[in-house]
């Protein structure tokens, strides 16, 4: 078990290294000299040259990369060009906002979608199955930003039930915070539940075909016992991977939802950084989101053997 854990954790190191290198390369491909960007168009050539030296931009690229990597590892993500603030504390602050929305949404979506998918699979080709798969496919086809805008128009503008613009932290004021969370969370739940339902259904159908299920039935076990004790664990494993992937990728995809509901999250920070050409912010956000994505996938893999008895650790 320990060997499995260590091997898997160690395998994430080269991935992270390449990911960092890729982001570094990507940032250097952005047109324009960072020093000129920082000083503005009115800067004297002498000033630019001095800043380039101070930022190490006159060094060869591999040396720049190693220097930068060293800083990143020690927690120095640089300063925002626009505000001069250090990037990392800002990222943590914004991440807290995004993470609360994403976590609540993914947990709710899974709680609804996994049983729905399994029921659909158990009653395959019945009217209930058709209804569940139909709804899931429909939800899969609705873009989150449109669904969000529609909810906003109906419940915020027309009915006036929910606040339209802004965000209140749950920690500051739990009641108001919850009110602001309803629509963004609902949007994400509806969109993500579609994919999870379909996955849960497909993997349950796969498992229900296996001989040990027939054997369990032949023993005279009730359908409920067959389903929960024998089918669930094996069928849930692939769905678990998908939930992990969704959890990781939502941190980037949520930029869209944050834009709709004007939530000051990490995704919005990245987009604003791209618009402002604030490359330390863009670089920091991309690095952080990619890091969380790799970490979530690692965590999912580590938990996998606990869920799926066939993956011997």
């Amino acid at each position: 078990m320990l060997k499995f854990l260590l091997t898997r954790i160690a395998s994430a190191v080269p991935t992270l290294l390449i990911v960092t290198a890729a982001i570094f390369a990507l940032m250097r491909m952005i047109p324009g000299d960072p020093a000129v960007l920082m000083l503005g168009d009115m800067a004297q050539p002498g000033q630019v040259e001095e800043l380039r030296q101070r930022m190490g931009l006159d060094q060869p690229l591999p040396i720049q990369f190693v220097t930068w990597l060293g800083k990143v590892l020690s927690g120095d993500f640089g300063q925002s060009i626009a505000t001069g603030e250090p990037v990392l504390p800002l990222i943590f602050e914004r991440f807290g906002v995004s993470a609360s929305v994403v976590l609540i949404a993914v947990v709710l979506a899974s709680v609804i979608a996994v049983p729905a998918g399994m029921i659909a699979a158990w009653r395959q080709n019945s009217l209930g199955d058709v209804a569940i798969v139909g709804t899931a496919t429909l939800m899969l086809s609705v873009p989150s930003f449109w669904l969000g805008l529609m909810l906003l128009t109906v419940f915020g503008l027309w009915l006036g039930w929910l606040p339209v613009v802004g965000y209140v932290s749950l920690a500051d004021d739990p009641t108001a915070g919850l009110l602001y969370l309803i629509m963004p969370v609902l949007t994400l739940v509806m969109v993500e539940a579609g994919a999870i339902t379909r996955m849960a259904r497909a993997s349950t159908i796969e498992v229900a075909r296996l001989e040990y299920i027939t054997h369990a039935r032949a023993k005279g076990l009730s359908e409920r016992a067959v389903m929960w004790r024998h089918a669930f664990r094996n069928a849930f494993a692939p769905t678990w991977t998908l939930i992990g992937l969704i959890l990781g990728s939502l941190l980037a995809n949520i930029a869209v939802t944050e834009t709709v509901f004007t939530i000051p999250g990490l995704g919005r920070m990245l987009i604003d950084g791209i618009f402002a050409r604030d490359y330390p912010v863009v670089q920091g956000c991309m690095l952080f989101i990619a890091f969380i994505y790799v970490a979530v996938n690692l965590l999912v893999d580590l938990i996998y053997p606990l869920l799926d008895p066939r993956v011997a650790a």
Binding site: T15, A21, I23, L26, P31, T137, P143, S249, N253, T259
Partner: protein
């Protein structure tokens, strides 16, 4: 009638429905601007924020531009981008995947190292990074999304090639004295097409969704050129006065995606009959 060696009658009702929706959208994209004359950029200030009515069947937008014309041209933009992006991702993925899977050794190791690095990013994050480099434009989106989705194709193709290269017919081709290039083109490539077709249909949907999301964020198709995503983005401040500006472009995206998803499901069921039960 058969396609890729499979009989057509097994395409079920939802598949036909999906194909119908998809065909309609593609036809509107290609023929719409020819059949319905009108300029999606023409301003008519009397029609500003106007609901559906005479002269403008689907109303006017915040500048009084005709919404129907803009939706038709938006379809053209979406389909055009989705088509070229999917082609780009599939073709480059086929090349890299076949090379890696068939040649193995160092070629495989190096190619897969880069591929796995790209796979370690969430798709949209990678696309956003590329958009920061290329800037918001049609070509920028095609390259950014193409590169973001290529690694998935490489994985699928390489996996298929790895199992194919051990088969007798590949061995036979070698024994017959065919070069590696001929074996790859004539014996490996055709056998990769079935799984790639499934992936291509799904990807077409991903691209339409991602392009509209990027355009909605202001990092996709730049205004005034209409796309469904940027129409939603510019209509946001007017949601209360002119809800049709929010309703219609989103409906277009959703219906198109529904068509793609149903068609994709049907194609997958077709190639994987297990799921039909």
């Amino acid at each position: 009638m058969s396609v890729l060696g499979l009989s057509l009658p097994r395409l079920r009702l939802n598949g036909l429905l999906g194909m119908g929706i998809l065909t309609t959208v593609v036809l509107v994209a290609i023929l719409g601007p020819v059949l319905v004359s009108g300029d999606p950029l023409a301003l008519d200030f009397r029609a500003r924020l106007m609901g559906p009515g005479p002269g403008h069947p689907l109303g006017g937008d915040e500048f009084g531009r005709d919404v129907m014309m803009r939706l038709i041209h938006g379809a053209r933009t979406s389909i055009w981008i989705a088509f070229f992006t999917t082609c780009f991702a599939i073709l480059s993925g086929l090349v890299v995947g076949i090379l890696a899977g068939f040649l193995r050794g160092w070629t495989d190791r190096v190619l897969m190292m880069f591929n796995d690095a790209l796979l370690a990013f969430p798709g949209l994050l990678l696309a956003l990074g590329f958009m920061a480099v290329f800037g918001a434009s049609r070509h920028g989106i095609i390259i950014a999304l193409g590169l973001a989705y290529m690694p998935a194709v490489v994985r699928v193709v390489r996996g298929t090639v790895l199992s194919l290269r051990e088969r007798e017919f590949v061995e036979a081709s070698r024994v017959m004295g065919n070069s590696e290039a001929v074996t790859m083109m004539r014996h490996i490539l055709p056998n990769c097409l079935a799984p790639v077709t499934v992936l291509a249909t799904t990807m077409f949907g991903w691209v339409i969704l991602a392009e509209s999301a990027l355009s909605f964020l202001g990092l996709g198709v730049p205004p005034p050129e209409p796309s469904w995503g940027n129409m939603l983005s510019t209509a946001r401040p007017y949601a209360a006065q002119a809800p049709h500006l929010i309703l219609l472009p989103g409906l277009c995206i959703s219906i198109t995606l529904l068509g793609v998803n149903m068609f994709g499901d049907a194609i997958r069921d077709w190639l994987d009959p297990k799921m039909q039960g």
